[in-house]
């Protein structure tokens, strides 16, 4: 397949996952603050902006409405949900003949839906509905992709994009919520941990694995290491690795496989207790950096293959 097509599919996956995870993070921050005091709010919103690497660009007031609006509906913020959906759609448009018409229509319908909704108004009245809508539509998109795409390289690039983005975003979510709760000394705040788990749809899955004991280090262990939970970091990285293995047919892609294997092993075989003692923030940050490197290597190896060599053209007369 053409590297241009592969790149488009990879980025559809990333943008859709990004939109969904951003909505999840907004959701959990927003609802986590409902019971908290007014003092906590600005810090919580600043931390959310930090974890999404937009704290320096954001110029508004550190309260629910401006931050939510910025992360959800600001077209000038390239990381906002609206921008991510618009880019996913642009990429899908470039590969319309490679994806099912249902997949294209689902992405396009979501884009048009977001454009038609009065987002600021709805956010003021029913923020929960908005976050729910974004999560729901993004899951519909990935669901349609799962059910309609042949399991070829195109599908693999799409899933690779989803999984790398998901691994990174789960790390971010953990660093924004977990470290905050630990720092605030709320290690036994039952509702706060329920919120963390719910933000990645992991509440029921967690209960099934660990019963009702909401031990913070168990929550961390689950979201980082669960082998069978599709939103855990290790699951995402393992799936990404699996996709990559099938993508490597000729030549070597060790340039991508090696960093991915390394970061997966680092996460998979880590010692949770040790990490908590040594500093979770640092650990999560390193993990994120390594995932970036994998994405960069993917970019270099698959999408810009030979970009370092000049493309030569010739004509004979």
């Amino acid at each position: 397949m053409l590297s241009r097509h592969a790149e488009d599919l990879f980025w559809i996956g990333r943008y859709v996952e990004r939109a969904e995870d951003t909505a999840r993070m907004l959701d959990v921050t927003y609802h986590g603050l409902l019971e908290a005091g007014a003092v906590e709010a600005p810090t919580a919103w600043r931390e959310l902006l930090e974890v999404l690497y937009v704290d320096e660009v954001f110029a508004g007031e550190l309260s629910a409405s401006p931050v939510t609006l910025y992360l959800l509906a600001d077209k000038h913020n390239s990381g906002s949900i609206v921008s991510a959906v618009a880019r996913a759609r642009e990429n899908a448009r470039g590969v319309r003949d490679r994806i099912s018409s249902e997949l294209w229509e689902t992405i396009n319908r979501f884009y048009l839906e977001l454009a038609a909704i009065d987002l600021p108004n709805l956010l003021n009245r029913q923020p929960y509905e908005v976050f729910q809508l974004v999560k729901n539509r993004c899951q519909t998109i990935t669901g349609v992709a799962l059910q309609t795409m042949p399991r070829d390289d195109g599908y693999r690039f799409l899933v690779l994009g989803i999984m790398l983005e998901r691994a990174e975003m789960t790390c971010r979510l953990l660093s924004v919520r977990y470290t905050r709760l630990l720092r605030a000394g709320r290690t036994h705040d039952f509702h706060a941990w329920v919120a963390v788990l719910k933000s990645v749809s992991a509440f029921e899955a967690y209960l099934k694995a660990y019963r009702a004991s909401l031990d913070p280090s168990k929550v961390l262990e689950f979201l980082l290491l669960a082998q069978d939970f599709p939103r855990s970091v290790v699951f995402a990285l393992r799936t990404a690795e699996l996709m990559l293995t099938h993508l490597v047919t000729e030549g070597s892609a060790t340039a991508v496989q090696r960093p991915l294997g390394r970061v997966r092993a680092r996460a998979e075989f880590c010692d949770i207790d040790q990490i908590v003692v040594n500093g979770l923030d640092e650990f999560l940050h390193l993990l994120q950096e390594d995932i970036w490197k994998v994405a960069e290597a993917t970019e270099r190896h698959f999408f810009q293959a030979g970009a370092d060599l000049n493309l030569q053209s010739y004509e004979t007369s």
């Binding site: 010739y314 004979t316 007369s317």
Partner: protein, 292 residues
């Protein structure tokens, strides 16, 4: 006349090349005056060929070599039976070229294209070439003559993509330059004209003399065809002004060189490569048949 053509192109790269994608237009066409008998393409390293007919009706072979390689050879062998053309006869005058329908139906061969030119000197030359001419046939011949007078055949003085104004300035060129100038002059006078790519069985392109030996080493050749009212497309070889006949083997036509150039492609690899092109043409005698 039965002609065998062996067209070999070889590239030698200074380092490994890969992802090579190539487009070959080497198969002689079949029309009223020539018939293709056989055609085959071989590449080394071997590649699977895909063929199609392009918009202009030319047979196109495409092939890719993705794995690293340090040389590429493309061999196209064909065998053609050609027959002589009748004499060009037409009473038509130039008025037909000024009719709206002519432009409407043939505008693609009347427009300027990348390798033709519409600069002042060419326009002036186009005007002078057909001054006081009434008949279409006379205009057809006068333009061929003008091109032949303007340029001297000299290989190595021009290159692909050279500005026609520069060719005119230096007054030298190869068959492509002759053809492009002729196209400019025909089109400048409203005469639809198209570029023809092919092979010429001759000692050299400039003289177009018939070889004494059966086999000769030549180059790919180019000439033009112009539209004669009531007669159809008629060839003119401005490089040597010899009548286009049995020894011209046509591959295809287009607006200019770009539409029918023999072999083009892209690859990843070193910019410098050595290119060798060899065209061997031989005349087949039908001795074996007589002996029986």
């Amino acid at each position: 006349m039965r002609i065998e053509i062996r067209y070999l192109t070889s590239f030698t790269y200074s380092e490994q090349a890969r992802e090579s994608h190539n487009v070959l237009r080497a198969r002689p066409t079949t029309d009223a005056y020539q018939r293709l008998i056989s055609y085959s393409v071989l590449t080394d390293p071997p590649a699977r060929l895909a063929s199609h007919t392009d918009y202009w009706g030319t047979h196109v072979d495409t092939f890719d070599i993705r794995h690293p390689h340090d040389r590429l050879q493309v061999l196209a062998e064909s065998s053609v039976e050609t027959s002589p053309r009748p004499e060009l006869k037409s009473d038509a005058d130039l008025s037909w070229y000024r009719e709206e329908d002519t432009w409407r139906y043939h505008h693609q061969f009347l427009q300027p294209s990348r390798h033709t030119s519409g600069d002042r000197r060419t326009v002036e030359l186009a005007r002078i070439a057909v001054e006081d001419v009434v008949s279409a046939v006379e205009a057809f011949e006068r333009i061929g003559q003008t091109v032949h007078d303007e340029l001297e055949y000299k290989p190595g003085t021009t290159y692909v993509g050279i500005d026609l104004a520069r060719v005119l300035e230096q007054g030298q060129g190869v068959c492509q330059d002759f053809a492009h100038l002729a196209l400019s002059l025909y089109r400048g006078n409203g005469i639809p004209a198209r570029y023809v790519s092919g092979y010429l069985y001759a000692v050299d392109q400039a003289s177009a003399q018939e070889p004494e030996e059966a086999e000769v080493e030549v180059q790919t050749h180019a000439w033009v065809e112009a539209l004669i009212p009531g007669f159809g497309w008629w060839p003119c070889d401005p490089t040597n002004l010899s009548p286009v006949g049995e020894r011209h083997v046509k591959i295809g036509h287009g607006r200019d060189y770009d539409d029918v150039l023999p072999l083009r492609g892209v690859y990843h690899g070193p910019a410098d490569h050595q290119l060798g092109v060899s065209v061997r043409m031989s005349r087949e005698t039908l001795q074996a048949v007589h002996e029986q």
